[in-house]
Amino acid sequence: MLRERTRYCLHATTSRSAGVSKQETNFQFLERFDKRVAQLAKQAEKYVHTDPDSCMFKLRLMVETMAKKLTNLQMRSDISQDLGSMLGALERGGIVPRRQADSMHAIRRDGNAAVHGSPTPVPTAMRRLHEAYKISGWFCKVIKRGSKVNLNEFAPPEPPAPLDQATKSLHGKIDELEESIEQRRLATRESLLMFGPQENVKDVTRRIIEELKALDNVAAAAGEPIIDADFVALVMAMDLEQIEEDPRHGGDSRQARREAEQQLDFIKQHLAEREKVFLAERTFLIEQRNES
């Protein structure tokens, strides 16, 4: 019988030795919330050592199933069914927090890479499985409000046979590489956000509001005219087609669109290239091992 890894709040968590043997699973608790997701998670767990590519397929499918369920539950029906778009919409809508979204995107990316023939090392699959475990706990709380799920520490599935020294060493190197890739992704992420990681967003926001109100009072007291709010509202209400057809603005807005599109494409291409470099670094390590 499968051993359950999660206890509800009232139950005491039990300590256990590291590693999940063949008969055990980290994901039994998911059964109570979503059988399909639980099944995919358990399959991924089963394959993590023997077939890490299949483990990634299952994890990707698991994330896709979660994203569809969350989209159906909490969003409009016209969201694209493409996983990347669904995750983007869920994150922008505030349904998936940043940490979970990052993990889901990482699983999506590595799952896609595996589908397209890029080999998945065991440590990478294990890392994603661990992330899937953490996402699962959060997912249960979202789909059944009021549920209190206390996750035990993730117990990595044990390999079917002990690893030799060369494999252990390779796994160590791959883990280091994965860590470095995650740091680089995090750096990219931080560069794109409005606030820095050390900033206290609440404090900064409060300070800005105080300053804005003070400036507003000063400007109003000085009788300073404000920008034509009606015009701003009009621009907001206009369709882009109308703006572009307007002889006063058409030329500029078309030019702005062309330039901005080119610049955005450049950034997107740059980000895509970096992901390719990450994959190439990982593949290089695996190939080295195969050659030796």
């Binding site: 969003m75 409009r76 016209d78 969201i79 694209s80 778009s85 983007g88 919409a89 994150e91 922008r92 809508g93 505030g94 750096a187 990219t188 931080e190 560069s191 794109l192 956000l193 409005m194 606030f195 820095g196 050390q198 900033e199 900064v204 926001t205 800005i208 509001i209 300053e211 804005l212 109100k213 400036l215 507003d216 400007a219 300073e224 005219p225 404000i226 920008i227 034509d228 709010a229 015009f231 701003v232 509202a233 621009v235 907001m236 206009m238 882009l240 703006i243 572009e244 006063r248 603005h249 500029d252 807005s253 702005a256 669109r257 901005a260 599109e261 610049q263 955005l264 450049f266 950034i267």
Partner: protein, 139 residues
């Protein structure tokens, strides 16, 4: 441009942008994402510059008055780009609150743009906001 100057400029951008986002009362995720993309794609800052600009040592001691004063000293084209970006942040959530109008007004006054130039910035901002928001995405 030296890296220190770039960081200073990027700090000005992030201050202006977050003032507009905060003025909108609810900071939508789409505004957060648009801020960094605009910094890199349109203003041309490197990733590292964007990160350093938000380091506490660079941004924490600056007020909105410093921001207005800094924007005022920029070359006209660059200042207009910042104004356009700030208006884009405002359009990103499809709402316009009184403090947002005030912040736009103060920036425009600092840069001394004419009403026509301001309208041009607004229209360009509207176009860019529509590009950064994926079709059908919530505000």
């Amino acid at each position: 441009m030296q890296e220190s100057e770039q960081i200073q400029l990027a700090t000005l951008w992030f201050l202006s942008a977050r003032a507009m986002a905060v003025a909108g009362e609810e900071m939508a995720a789409v505004q957060e994402a648009a801020t960094g993309l605009y910094a890199q794609a349109i203003l041309g800052f490197e990733e590292s510059v964007c990160r350093k600009a938000k380091d506490v040592e660079h941004i924490d001691n600056k007020t909105l008055i410093d921001c207005l004063s800094g924007v005022r000293q920029l070359p006209r084209e660059l200042a207009e780009k910042i104004l356009t970006g700030v208006m884009m942040i405002s359009y990103a959530d499809r709402k316009m609150k009184p403090l947002e109008v005030r912040w736009a007004s103060m920036l425009a006054s600092a840069i001394e743009v004419s009403p026509d130039d301001f309208q041009r910035c607004c229209v360009n901002a509207r176009v860019i906001a529509s590009m950064l928001r994926p079709h059908g995405a919530p505000a």
